[in-house]
């Protein structure tokens, strides 16, 4: 059956005019078998394996992109959480040795980012977890392409406030260790972290994964914005239907690219992450989708409801399109990477509190926002605890990627360049929660965790 010209043109137009692309192909690589007491030996073996897979991924992704005519923007690797790899290495420098080997391997292979330099500490920390945590400021500032994470809460285990209290201090060290606090942009604090997420900074290759798995993240804010703009007057029921149909289409292309690339690499095809992931390209903005739905600015009354409709439609359309939907599969609302979000903050429409409310209905949390450099550590810990509590209680993933920018105050603006964009520095509530954070201990898991 012939495909109508309008349908062919629609697909071509998504790529030509609406910034549609495959945002990330991320190959998860198991490194558990490389554990060794000698950190140099372990790091060298890890670097070698990543180099080999990375080179193949970069070459094959290019070939698939050319063959299918769909752009693939980023090629990434994710690894077994690094804390597990350094378990038998008492050497305090082991994390740094590993970090540098991973970074070098990524650079040489032409890989954009390596994720997985992190630990699971929601209930407690092993000695290796602590070594890794303490190394984060240095590890993420002496490397270019390495991304780190900590999982600090789960719905089943509760939340580790001791680790969160320490993380607040580490974030300030991290911010001071590299210009403009940029190392903080490569770190995310999670509740209920997914094990197959292709997006950075939080990608890692979880314990339930095979040796190697390919995960794909698609991007479609521009496509969704465009279709919403073309329907300015329909009611929200119809709008949901329209968004569902559109997301179905873009997910199908992601699924096809993932399948083809996995086949060429001879690896398991993991998941398609259907998250709408904005960029700073004009129009490629989740904020602009919300505006097209009828908000003057993001943050206006109705914002959380609009976002809830959007994410619901994205999930329904995406699930119909692929049986392998996974990862975060929410809607990213990073401040610095989305022109609509930047504008909303700069015009005073959106503050940190409303941003937090928005994350209650959409993965993936408070993302890529800047706060003043003199924000106290306990305030950073408090922001993280609040956000992770939303994830923990609601059985969902939430994350925090916060950048305390040294020397900057609320109202200033910091330009990170490239995909990371430009962040207006947001005001932090000046009242203190220090005593609460200092108590430490563990926030118990919610009653809804007891499901057995």
């Amino acid at each position: 059956m012939t495909i109508a010209l309008e349908d062919v043109f629609e697909t071509a137009g998504m790529i030509l005019f609406e910034n549609y692309d495959i945002r990330a192909v991320t190959l998860g690589v198991n490194l558990k078998d490389l554990v060794h007491p000698d950190p140099f030996r372990m790091a060298q073996a890890a670097g070698q394996r990543l180099g080999q897979w990375g080179s193949r991924l970069a070459a094959e992704a290019e070939a698939v992109s050319e063959s299918l005519g769909v752009p693939i923007v980023n090629k990434r690797l994710s690894i077994t959480p690094a804390a597990w790899l350094i378990e038998p290495c008492p050497d305090q420098n082991a994390p740094i040795i590993l970090a540098q080997a991973l970074d070098q391997a990524a650079t040489e292979a032409g890989i954009d980012f390596v994720g997985g330099f992190g630990a699971w500490v929601q209930k407690g920390s092993t000695k290796a977890d602590i070594r890794l945590m303490e190394s984060l400021p240095r590890a993420l500032s002496v490397t270019q392409r390495l991304c780190g994470f900590l999982n600090l809460a789960t719905t089943r285990a509760g939340m580790n406030l001791d680790a969160i209290a320490r993380l607040g201090e580490l974030l300030l060290e991290m911010a001071a260790a590299a210009p403009q606090g940029i190392a903080c942009a490569k770190f995310v604090a999670f509740a209920n972290a997914p094990e197959d997420n292709p997006f950075m900074a939080g990608a890692f290759h979880g314990p339930g994964e095979a040796d190697v798995a390919l995960n794909v993240g698609i991007s479609g804010p521009g496509v969704v914005r465009s279709v919403v703009e073309r329907h300015p007057d329909c009611d929200l029921t119809m709008l949901s239907e329209i968004i569902r149909r559109t997301v179905f289409k873009i997910t199908r292309a992601g699924e096809l690219v993932g399948r083809e690339l996995a086949k060429r690499l001879g690896v398991e095809f993991g998941v398609v992450d259907i998250s709408l992931a904005p960029t700073t390209a004009i129009g490629d903005s989740v904020g602009r989708i919300l505006q097209a739905m009828g908000l003057e600015q993001v943050g206006a009354p109705g914002t959380t409801a609009a976002l809830a409709l959007l994410i619901d439609a994205v999930k329904k359309g995406g699930s119909m399109a692929s049986g392998r939907v996974g990862g975060l599969s929410g809607t990213f609302i990073p401040v610095s990477e989305d022109l609509g979000m930047i504008e909303a903050v700069e015009r005073g429409a959106l503050n940190l509190e409303k941003l937090e409310a928005m994350t209650a209905v959409c993965s993936v949390g408070l993302d890529m926002f800047a706060v003043p450099g003199d924000t106290p550590a306990h305030a950073l810990s408090g922001i993280i605890a609040d956000e992770l509590a939303i994830g923990m209680v609601n059985h969902k993933t939430t994350g925090v990627r916060v950048i305390p920018v040294p020397g900057m105050q609320a109202g200033d603006s910091v330009d990170f360049g490239g995909l990371l964009g430009r962040a207006p520095v947001m005001r932090v509530n000046p009242f203190s929660g220090e005593k609460l954070i200092r108590r430490g201990g563990r926030l118990p898991a919610p009653l809804s965790a007891l499901r057995n």
């Binding site: 062919v8 629609e10 790529i15 299918l68 005519g69 699924e255």
Partner: protein, 92 residues
């Protein structure tokens, strides 16, 4: 590796020789045109050609480069996409 069938999508201002020059190039590359549709949409000339490129002299990337060069000479936007992508998106 060339995909078996590709859509060549052309858009821009209407002018003489669009179909002739695009199809000549496809012929020279040993591609077989199986379907052609064209239309003026919102004042813009839009054409799609479905071509079998399994016996093509070059790979899809090479074909795309040649077609894009030709498009640039004529002031047209030309895009080459695998039929499998369009089918995946437009067919349930």
């Amino acid at each position: 590796m060339a995909a078996e069938r590709v859509f060549v999508v052309v858009l821009g201002s209407d002018q003489k020789g669009i179909i002739a020059r695009i199809s000549t190039l496809l012929y020279e590359k040993n591609a077989n045109i199986e379907d052609v549709q064209q239309k003026i949409m919102d004042g813009t000339f839009v054409m799609t050609m479905l071509a079998d490129v399994s016996e093509c002299a070059c790979d899809t990337a090479g074909l795309r480069d040649s077609l894009e060069d030709l498009g640039a000479q004529m002031g047209l936007t030309v895009m080459v996409q695998a039929e499998s992508v369009i089918k995946a998106m437009q067919r349930v």
